[in-house]
C-alpha cells in the first residue's frame, strides 16, 4: 500500500500537471482543487498507515533514465549560459558535467533500494502536499491577475503541481544519485519560475539563482565524489552507517550544497532576487518547501555529525545566520523582502538545531520546519493578496491597511504572531529550541538575540499595517475572491488549531518522525499539557494565551457602546499627522561584514569537508 502511495505521490503530480495543463479552461480550476485534494489525501493516508521504513527498489532502467535526465539538465543549463552569455553558468555547467561523468564512471552498482520511506519523509509529505496543494489552488486565482495568456497560466499552475512530486521524492530519496537529480530539478524549477515574468529584473534574478544553485550542485557532486573515491555505495543510509572520517568529509560537502539551496549567507542574494517571481512561487518554493532542503539535509545527516567539529561549525553558522538575517530584514522595506530575509534567518535556526542533533533539538527543528512552512506560506499568500487587490508592495504603502483590508491584515498578524508568540507551534518550537540549545551557552545567545530581533521586525511591520486613521469610523469589509480567502483561511485555521492542540501535535506528529533515528526526546503530553524533560507547559497557560489572542479579533468586531470617541492627542494642534515606519538602516559595512563572516563560515565547512576527507 505504502509503495503504491509513494509512487503516486512522486509520479502522480507530474501526470496531474499534464492533465491540468491540457484541460479546457472551464475545467482547470476544479481539476487543480481535485489534484491537490488527491495528493493530500494520499499523503495523509501514507502518514497514517506508515508503521516502519519501507524500502522501494527501482527497476534497473531507471538508473539510465536518471543519468539521461541529469545530462539533459546540465545540457540545458549550459545552453542557457551560452545563450544568455553568462560565463559563470557555462563554467559551472561544464564543471558539473565533468564531475558527474567521473562519478558515474567510477560508480559501481549497489544492492540497495533507491527510495526509503521513513516517518520523517511521510511527515514532510504532509507539508508539501498540504501547503503545496493549497498554494496551487491559490495560484489559479492569483494568475488571473497576471497578464499571461490562459495557456501560460495553466502551464504555471501545472509546473507548481509537478514540483510537488519532485519535493515528495526528494524527502524520501535514499540514493544520493537520485537526490542529485531531484536537487537539479528544483534548481530548474526555481530558474524557470523566477524568470516567469520575462522582464529584465526577472531575467537577472533567475540567472543569479541559477548559478548559485548550480554551485550547490557542484558541492553535492564533490560530496558524491568523496564517497565514490572510497568505493562506498552512493546512499544516505550507507553513509550514515560508516563512521570513518571521509564520511564526514562527504557530509560536509553535501551539507554545504544544501545550505546554498537554503540561501544561507553569503548566498542570501538569490532568494532575495527570487521575490520578483509571482507570489505563489515565493510561497511554495522559496519559503515553505524547497529551501527547507538545507535543514532537512542537516537533519538527515545530523546523527552522523553529532559531536564532531563539523557539527559545531554548522551549528554556529546557523546561529549566526539566524541573527544576521533578522538584522538585515530590519532595514528592508518591501513586505516580500522582509519575509524572504526572515525565512533565511529562521532557516538558519533550523540548520543550527539540526546540527546540535540531540533528540530534543531535532524535534525542535522539525517543529519549526513544519510550522514555519505553514505560517510563511500563509504570509506570502497574503502578501500576494495585498499586492494584487490593494496594489501595496512596500510596507510604506500598507499604512492603515487595517481599514481597507481587515481580513488580510488579520491573517498577516496571525502569521506574525504564530512565529513570535505563545502558544503557536513555531514559538513552541523555538521554546524547545532554547531548552535544547541551552547546553551550549554561546549557541543559546544566538537564539536569544535572534528571536528578539525577529519579534522586533514583525511587530514593526504589523504595527504599521494597523496604523488606523482615527477619522474613519468602521472597517470596510473587503471583497476577496473566494480562492484567496478559502486557501489562506484554511492555513490560518490550521495554525490556530494546532496552537491549542500543540502538545498532542508535538507528540503525535513530530516525535514519531524523529524517534526512529534519534530516540529519547522525552516529549510527552497529558491532555493539553506539554511536558519536556526540562520544564512543562501546562494547559492553562496554552489555553490562556490562546484565548487572549482569540479575543483580539473578536474585540475588533465588537464596537464599544456608551463610550465617547475622541481624537488623538496632538499637543492641541489640529493637524493630520502621518506617521511613517522606523527604519534601522544597517550600515553598509555591517552588511558586508555579515556576508564575509557568512563566507568564512561557509568556507570553513567546505574546508572541514576537505580536511576530514583527507585525514
Amino acid at each position: 500500500m505504502i509503495e503504491n502511495l509513494t509512487l503516486f505521490l512522486i509520479l502522480g503530480p507530474a501526470l496531474l500537471a499534464l492533465v491540468v495543463y491540457g484541460a479546457p479552461r472551464r475545467l482547470y480550476g476544479p481539476l487543480v482543487v481535485l489534484s491537490s485534494a488527491l495528493l493530500f489525501s494520499a499523503a495523509l493516508l501514507a502518514w497514517l498507515l506508515h508503521a516502519q521504513s519501507v524500502a522501494i527498489a527501482l527497476p534497473a532502467w531507471t538508473h539510465a533514465a536518471i543519468v539521461l535526465l541529469d545530462f539533459a539538465l546540465i545540457g540545458y543549463f549550459l545552453w542557457v549560459g551560452v545563450r544568455q552569455n553568462h560565463r559563470l553558468i557555462v563554467l559551472l555547467a561544464l564543471l558539473q558535467g565533468a564531475l558527474l561523468g567521473w562519478v558515474l564512471y567510477a560508480l559501481s552498482a549497489a544492492p540497495l533500494a533507491e527510495i526509503v520511506v521513513d516517518k520523517l519523509g511521510a511527515t514532510l509529505w504532509l507539508l508539501v502536499t498540504g501547503v503545496g496543494g493549497l498554494i496551487a489552488w491559490y495560484a489559479v486565482g492569483y494568475m488571473r491577475h497576471e497578464s499571461d495568456s490562459p495557456r501560460r497560466q495553466q502551464a504555471f499552475v501545472a509546473i507548481l503541481i509537478a514540483f510537488l512530486g519532485v519535493m515528495n521524492a526528494l524527502f524520501v530519496a535514499d540514493s544520493i544519485e537520485l537526490f542529485f537529480l531531484l536537487f537539479e530539478l528544483t534548481t530548474l524549477s526555481s530558474f524557470i519560475l523566477i524568470g516567469w515574468r520575462r522582464d529584465a529584473a526577472s531575467r537577472l534574478s533567475s540567472l543569479q539563482a541559477l548559478w548559485m544553485n548550480q554551485l550547490g550542485g557542484v558541492l553535492l557532486l564533490l560530496g558524491m565524489g568523496v564517497i565514490i573515491w572510497q568505493g562506498a555505495p552512493l546512499f544516505f543510509s550507507a553513509l550514515l552507517e560508516s563512521q570513518s572520517g571521509w564520511a564526514l568529509g562527504a557530509a560536509a560537502f553535501l551539507i554545504a550544497g544544501a545550505l546554498i539551496k537554503g540561501a544561507q549567507m553569503p548566498f542570501d542574494r538569490w532568494l532575495l532576487g527570487a521575490m520578483v517571481a509571482p507570489t505563489p512561487v515565493s510561497a511554495i518554493l522559496h519559503s515553505s518547501t524547497m529551501v527547507k532542503i538545507a535543514p532537512f539535509m542537516v537533519l538527515k545527516l545530523g546523527v552522523l555529525l553529532h559531536g564532531t567539529p563539523l557539527a559545531v561549525a554548522v551549528a554556529y553558522f546557523g546561529g549566526f545566520v539566524f541573527v544576521a538575517g533578522a538584522f538585515v530584514a530590519l532595514a528592508r522595506n518591501h513586505l516580500k523582502e522582509i519575509l524572504a530575509y526572515s525565512t533565511i534567518s529562521l532557516l538558519g535556526l533550523m540548520v543550527m538545531l539540526s546540527a546540535v542533533a540531540t533528540p530534543l533539538a531535532l524535534s525542535a527543528a522539525l517543529t519549526l520546519i513544519l510550522f514555519h512552512g505553514v505560517a510563511k506560506a500563509m504570509l506570502f499568500m497574503e502578501a500576494g493578496v495585498l499586492e494584487k487587490l490593494h496594489h501595496a508592495k512596500s510596507v510604506d504603502e500598507m499604512g492603515g491597511m487595517l481599514s481597507r483590508a481587515p481580513m488580510s491584515v488579520f491573517l498577516v498578524l496571525l502569521g506574525f504572531a504564530s512565529i513570535t508568540l505563545p502558544p503557536f507551534g513555531a514559538l513552541v518550537g523555538k521554546w524547545v529550541a532554547i531548552e535544547a540549545s541551552a547546553q551550549s551557552a554561546f549557541l543559546f545567545l544566538f537564539v536569544a538575540l535572534g528571536s528578539v530581533v525577529i519579534a522586533l521586525l514583525y511587530f514593526k511591520v504589523a504595527g504599521y499595517m494597523l496604523g488606523k486613521p482615527g477619522s474613519q469610523m468602521g472597517l470596510t469589509i473587503e471583497r476577496i475572491p473566494r480562492v484567496f480567502s478559502v486557501t489562506t483561511l484554511l492555513l490560518g485555521v490550521t495554525l490556530a488549531l494546532s496552537a491549542i492542540l500543540i502538545a498532542p501535535t508535538l507528540v503525535y506528529l513530530i516525535v514519531p518522525a524523529i524517534e526512529p533515528f534519534a530516540p529519547g526526546s522525552e516529549i510527552a503530553h497529558k491532555g493539553l499539557t506539554l511536558m519536556l524533560p526540562s520544564g512543562d507547559l501546562p494547559f492553562w497557560q496554552i489555553v490562556g494565551a490562546w484565548l487572549l489572542l482569540l479575543l483580539l479579533p473578536l474585540a475588533g468586531l465588537k464596537r464599544m457602546r456608551r463610550v465617547d470617541r475622541v481624537r488623538e492627542y496632538s499637543g492641541g494642534e489640529r493637524i493630520e499627522m502621518q506617521p511613517v515606519t522606523f527604519y534601522f538602516p544597517t550600515p553598509r559595512w555591517i552588511v558586508r561584514a555579515m556576508a564575509i563572516i557568512g563566507a568564512i563560515f561557509f568556507g570553513l565547512i567546505v574546508l572541514l569537508g576537505g580536511v576530514l576527507w583527507v585525514a
Partner: protein
C-alpha cells in the same frame, strides 16, 4: 513557589503590585527630600480613574489595553505558579505585544513613536532575561521556577554576572531613567499609553503594577530556597533602581540599546560560560 501560596499571590497580585508602586513613589519622593504621596496613592488613582467618563479613540484600541493587562497577569501567574521561565518571558512578550499593537493602531505620532521605542526596550532587556533563564537551568537542571526555589545554595553567588546584567537592564524594563525612552513623559507623553484615558488607562496603570511585581519577583528567584535572601536582593535592587531613576537623565534609543546590550550581554555570557565550565 507553587501551591496555595503561589495561587494566593497570583490572585492578590494587583494589590501587592499597587502597594509596591506606592512604595516606589514614596521612596522616590523621600530621596528628593519630599514628603511624597501616601502609600495608598495608587489605589486612590485607581478609584478615581474608574469614575471618569469613558473615552476611546477606537474600540480595538481600548480592548487592547485590557488585553495587555490580562496578558500581564497571565505572565505573572506563570511565574508565580512556578512555571517554565522561558514561557514566563514569552508570555510577558505576548502581553507587551498587545500594548505595542495598540500603540501603532492610532494615528498619533507620539503613540507610534512610543510603540517603536517599546519594541527597542524589549530588544534591550529580553535577551538578558532569557539568559537568566538559561543560567537557572544550568544550576537546577530545569527551566521551571519551582526548581529554582528548591536550590539550596542561592543562585545569586554563581550568577553574579547575570544579576548585574539584570540590574543594568532593569530600568529599561520598568521604564525608568536612564532607559525610559519608551515612556518619556514630557517628550512623547507616555508613548504607547498616551491615547488611553479613564477606565482604559486604568488597565495600563494596573498592568504597570503587575510589571513591577513581575520584575521584582524575578529578582527574588536569585535567592533560591533562601527566599529571604531573594527578598533582600529585590529590596536592594528596588533601592538602586529608584536611586538611578532619580539621578540620571534619559538616553536615546541608540544609547540605550548600545549600553544595555553592549554591557550586560557580554557580562551575562561570560558568567554563563563560567557556570558551564564548573
Amino acid at each position: 513557589m507553587g501551591g496555595v501560596v503561589g495561587w494566593l499571590l497570583i490572585l492578590l497580585a494587583p494589590l501587592i503590585g499597587g502597594v509596591l508602586y506606592g512604595m516606589e513613589r514614596k521612596l522616590k519622593a523621600r530621596m528628593q527630600r519630599r514628603a511624597g504621596p501616601p502609600l495608598m496613592q495608587p489605589f486612590y488613582d485607581f478609584f478615581k480613574l474608574i469614575d471618569k467618563r469613558p473615552m476611546v479613540v477606537h474600540s480595538l484600541h481600548g480592548y487592547l489595553g485590557i488585553l495587555h493587562f490580562l496578558g500581564m497577569w497571565l505572565a505573572l501567574a506563570v511565574l508565580l505558579s512556578g512555571g517554565d521561565l522561558l514561557m514566563v518571558i514569552f508570555m510577558h512578550l505576548l502581553a507587551n505585544s498587545f500594548l505595542i499593537v495598540a500603540a501603532f493602531s492610532v494615528r498619533s505620532v507620539y503613540s507610534q513613536l512610543g510603540g517603536m521605542r517599546q519594541l527597542l526596550a524589549i530588544l534591550a532587556y529580553e535577551p538578558i532575561f532569557l539568559l537568566a533563564g538559561v543560567g537557572f537551568y544550568f544550576l537546577s537542571g530545569s527551566f521551571e521556577a519551582k526548581a529554582v526555589f528548591e536550590l539550596s545554595s542561592a543562585p545569586l553567588w554563581a550568577m553574579w554576572g547575570i544579576v548585574i546584567a539584570i540590574i543594568i537592564v532593569m530600568p529599561a524594563k520598568l521604564k525608568k531613567s536612564p532607559f525610559d525612552m519608551a515612556e518619556a513623559h514630557q517628550e512623547i507623553i507616555g508613548g504607547a499609553e498616551i491615547e488611553y484615558s479613564g477606565l482604559f488607562y486604568e488597565a495600563l496603570y494596573t498592568a504597570r503594577w503587575l510589571e513591577y511585581l513581575f520584575a521584582y519577583a524575578f529578582i527574588v528567584l536569585f535567592g533560591g530556597a533562601n527566599w529571604l535572601l531573594g527578598l533582600a536582593l529585590a529590596a536592594v535592587v528596588f533601592l538602586l533602581v529608584t536611586l538611578v531613576d532619580n539621578a540620571t537623565t534619559r538616553l536615546n534609543w541608540q544609547q540605550t540599546v548600545a549600553i544595555t546590550l553592549g554591557l550586560s550581554l557580554p557580562l551575562g555570557a561570560i558568567n554563563l560560560l563560567l557556570i558551564g565550565i564548573q
